[in-house]
Symmetry: C2
C-alpha cells in the first residue's frame, strides 16, 4: 500500500470516474494520465488496489470504480484542496453581503453553496447557547398578557406570549424588567438559568410571583431558539445526478426532510485537521444515505453549528471541500460582524 504509484493510480481512477461517471479501465488510464508505464503494469496495480478493497469492478469485463474506502483514502491521503476561483470568491462576498435578517443570511448561504457545488446544501441554525443576551423587553398587552422579547447578540430576536394567572401593572413589569436586565445583560445564554433565579429573588417581594413566571418564559426562550431547525437548498441538483443514486433519489429526499436525521448526522460529524469532516457512503449509518456523501464544517463563534453539502459518493471532493470551507468562513465573519 505504500507503493506511491498505486496511490497515483487510485487518484487517477477517482478523478476520471468523478468526471466521466463510467468505470475506468487500464487502457484509458494510461493515455489520459501520462504515467510512464504500460497498461499491463497498471493492471497489476489495479489488482493490488482491488485486493485492498479500494476499488471494485462492477462486472468481469468492465473498468474499476472506487469503493467507499477508496474515496476515503483519496480524501484523507491523496487529494489537495483546490482553491476557489476569484470569481467564486467574489460571488460569495457580493451575494452574502446583501442579507440583513439572520433568516435571510442562512437562506442566501445555502442557495449560494448549492450553486457553487451543484449539490444539496444544508445549514443548521446557529446554536444560541453560546450567544449572549443583548436586551430583554417585557410588553404589557393586556392586564394578564405579557409579550416577552429577548434580543441576542447574533441579531436574532426571540419572543413569546405569556398569560399570567393574575393581573399585573405596567409599573410592576418595569421593575421586573429592570431586575432582569441588570443581572443578565451581556451574559451568555447558557448562564441564563442561574442569573434569572438571582434576579427573581432580588425583585421586590410583591413582584416576585410575576418575575418567576416571566423568568421561566425567558429560560425557555433561550432554549427554544431554532437551533433544531435547518435550511435546505438545491434539492433539484439531486435529480440531475440520476444514475448516481441507483434506486432513485427517493430515500435521499426522505432523509433530507427528516430534520431529526439530518441534524443528528451533522452534529455527529467530527472535523479533521483541515477543519472539515467528510462522511462517505456507508459511513452514514442512516439507510437512505448509503450512496451519499456529506461534506460539512462548523461555523459561527464556536463552530458548533454546521454547514455542509450532500451529494453522491461520486463527487468532486477537493472542490466541494474548498467551497464549504470558504462559505463557512465567510458566514462566520458575517455573524460576528
Amino acid at each position: 500500500m505504500s507503493e506511491p504509484r498505486q496511490l497515483e493510480v487510485l487518484r487517477a481512477i477517482v478523478e476520471d470516474y468523478v468526471h466521466s461517471r463510467e468505470p475506468v479501465g487500464s487502457k484509458a488510464l494510461v493515455d489520459r494520465h501520462h504515467l510512464g508505464v504500460s497498461s499491463a503494469t497498471i493492471r497489476n496495480d489495479m489488482a493490488a488496489l482491488e485486493e485492498e478493497g479500494l476499488i471494485a469492478a462492477p462486472h468481469t469485463s468492465a473498468g474499476r470504480i472506487p469503493t467507499d474506502k477508496g474515496y476515503r483514502m483519496f480524501v484523507d491521503r491523496i487529494s489537495a484542496v483546490k482553491p476557489l476561483s476569484a470569481a467564486e470568491r467574489r460571488a460569495i462576498h457580493t451575494f452574502l453581503d446583501q442579507a440583513d435578517d439572520l433568516d435571510d443570511v442562512l437562506d442566501r448561504t445555502v442557495r449560494l453553496l448549492s450553486q457553487l457545488t451543484n449539490q444539496v446544501a444544508v445549514v443548521q441554525y446557529p446554536q444560541l447557547t453560546s450567544a449572549a443576551v443583548r436586551h430583554i423587553e417585557l410588553v404589557l398587552l393586556a392586564p394578564r398578557q405579557v409579550l416577552v422579547v429577548m434580543i441576542v447578540t447574533t441579531g436574532k430576536v426571540e419572543q413569546r406570549m405569556v398569560t399570567l394567572p393574575e393581573e399585573t401593572t405596567e409599573d410592576a413589569l418595569q421593575h421586573v424588567r429592570a431586575a432582569f436586565l441588570a443581572s443578565t445583560s451581556g451574559a451568555l445564554l447558557s448562564r441564563l438559568p442561574e442569573l434569572l433565579t438571582t434576579a427573581v429573588t432580588s425583585a421586590p417581594p410583591q413582584d416576585r410571583a410575576v418575575a418567576a413566571i416571566l423568568g421561566n418564559a425567558l429560560e425557555q426562550l433561550a432554549g427554544i431558539g431554532r437551533e433544531d431547525r435547518m435550511v435546505l437548498a438545491g434539492t433539484a441538483n439531486l435529480a440531475r445526478s440520476t444514475g448516481d443514486f441507483p434506486l432513485s433519489i427517493g430515500p435521499v429526499l426522505e432523509a433530507l426532510e427528516e430534520q431529526v436525521v439530518m441534524m443528528r448526522l451533522l452534529t455527529e460529524m467530527e472535523q479533521d485537521a483541515r477543519g472539515v469532516s467528510v462522511r462517505i457512503g456507508h459511513e452514514n449509518r442512516y439507510g437512505g444515505l448509503t450512496e451519499a456523501s456529506v461534506v460539512a464544517t462548523g461555523y459561527g463563534p464556536d463552530e458548533l453549528a454546521k454547514i455542509g453539502v450532500l451529494g453522491p459518493t461520486r463527487m468532486d471532493y477537493p472542490t466541494t471541500i474548498a467551497a464549504v470551507r470558504a462559505v463557512a468562513r465567510y458566514l462566520s465573519r458575517i455573524l460576528a460582524g
Copy 2:
C-alpha cells in the same frame, strides 16, 4: 358531448388510469365497471371522446389515457368530492392542535397535508395585510439604536433594528410610541401608511424627525412579513411517482425551489364554486410544471393566503381536493382562535 354514457366512460377511464398508471382499453373497462354495454360500444364512445380531445392513445394499439382537457372535464363536471375518513379527520385535529408557534403551525400543516395526499404540499405564509395591529413597541437599545416591534392579531411578531441619525431619549421614544399606539391600535395593516403619517404629524415637533423614521420602519415591517415565503413538505413523494414525470422530476424540484414562481402560481389561482382551484398540466404556464397539477385553496380570515398540493396530472383529484379543503378549513380555525 351531452351523451351521458360517454361522460361515464370518461370517468371510468380517469379512475382506472389514476390507480393503475396504465393506458386503459375498452375490454378492461367493460369488466371492471359494469356498464351495461359491450366493448365495441365503448370503443365507439372512446373514439368520440378522442375526437373531442378528452382522451388520447399513446400508441396505435394501446389503451387511452386522459388528456389535460379530459382531467379538466372530470374535475369540473363529473367527479364528486370524496369525504375524508374519520381517522383522517381525527389526524388533522390531533396533529395540528399540538402546534404553538405560527411557524410550527404551518410546518405541521404542510407535513400533514403531504402525508394525507402522498404529494408535495405547499403553504404560503398568511398575508398580514388583512391582519390588524395589536401592539407596537419601541425599545431603546443604545442612544441611536431602536428596536421596533409590531405584534399583529395573528400572533406573529415582526421586529426590526433601526439606527437613528442622531441620539434620542427614552422619553421621546415614549411619546412617539404613545402617538403610534393611539392612532394605529387595532387598525388593519393595510391602513397603516395613512394612519402613521397622521400619527407623525400629531407628535410633538421635536420628536417628529424620530417619529418619521420609526414610522417608516413600521410601514416596512407591515410589508416585509414573511408573506413572500412559503413552506414545503413531501418532496420525497415526487420520487415515488417516477414515470409520471417523463423527464425526471428535476424541473419540478427546480420550480418548487424557485419561491417566486410558486408564489405567483398560487396567487394567480382563482377559486371555483367549491372554493378550490385546480390547475392541470399545461394550464400551469411555467415550463417545469406542464406535467403537474396543483390543487389549492385560500385560508385564513380573508382566504388570501393559499395552501395547496402539487402532484402529477395523474392524481386522485376527488381525494386531494377533499384533503386540501379540510386542512385549509382547520388551519383557518386555528389561526382565528
